[in-house]
Amino acid sequence: MSLLDRLTRGHLTDRQFAELWATSQSTGVTHPHLDACADCRRRFEAFDRWVNGIGDELRTEADDAFPAERLTVQQAQIARRLETLERPARVLAFPRAARAVISGNSHVRRWVTVAAAAGLIAGVGLGQVFQLPGSLLKPPAAVTAVALTQPQTQKIAKELRPENSSINDEELLSDAFTRSRVTTLNALDDMTPHARDLALTRRGK
């Protein structure tokens, strides 16, 4: 039977079957066309079988996931959970060894700790009040600046200089006080005031 044929003859569609099926489940009301049309009745019965088949398959699937042994285990777990609900919560004692190490419950240990702390404080206080003999409390020797004469400086420099050094320090330093080696720049050098010259002039005064 084609769709066009069904529409022209007023047969029920799948949509109407679904609606009818959903309504008839709760109200028991059927479509009057079903009583009159054997073809639609047959199709509706097939539709009903199809829907019921889905329900059966879904039930089977769920029952496969929950076999009897699983349900038994589940029942036992529920019973256990209910039992634990009614039992008051039990506070577990802290391990004894850990408590002994951490808290130090003994009076003797507490007194020893207090005495040690008091002794330390008294010792430091006494040390501040009285000057103890010995080098422990002596102030360190003061570092004094010694003014060296030029010959002494030269002697020390000579001692410190390595024997085979190719650089002469005196030459290097005196070179800085000499005039420029480039003769063309001498005029410019004469015009430039030097701090060293000023110092020497003042010292000469």
Partner: protein
Amino acid sequence: MSGTSPALVAAREADAAAASAVKALQAAGQLEEARERYAELVARHQRRAARIAYHYLRDAAEADEAVQDAFVKAYQHLASFREELPFDVWFTRILINGCLDRIKARTRRERWLLPMSGKSAPVDGSSAERDVTDRVAAGGQSPEQALLGRERRQQIAAALSKLPERQRSVFVLSHVEGRTSREVSALTGLNESTVRVHLFRAIRKLRGLLADDTVDAAPGELKGKRRVTS
């Protein structure tokens, strides 16, 4: 499914009696007896709860935890249970709320984690990992039948997972668990007519997703429908 069957009425009466007894024992401080009595309720509703949780969460281990949590929570809050409401409806609501909380938590978690294989959640759960030979031995099916059945179940599960959350809830509760629209309304907090609309839409969508299963449907109706690949 339209009315309430006598068996269901009897079961609900038994539930109400057991729940009242547990409440009284809890109040009297006879906790061991209360637990023993409550175990009856657990045994009676456990499988159904597992099915619902499994269809919500699509993971057997997580569904297991959700069921346990729901039973423990129900026991703790049994004092607030009103006898005029069926125990299974009250309990299922606790279970569904727990499942929805887990789904939310999972979504939040997955937002920060990279998916391992492109799938956000296992579609077929741990059952799919089981050896086919186990099922053959258990069900007396041929390996081919077992494999086809497994494939079909995977297709249905994949199609169901594509439904919006409310449609899926309504479909599972009303169809897989056989609840009436009124009960589904009480369980989900939706209006009864809204439940019917969601159920209708769920069926229509499933029909489209599982087009290959449409036995006896007219050829014109199947055109353009796609097959769900798991």
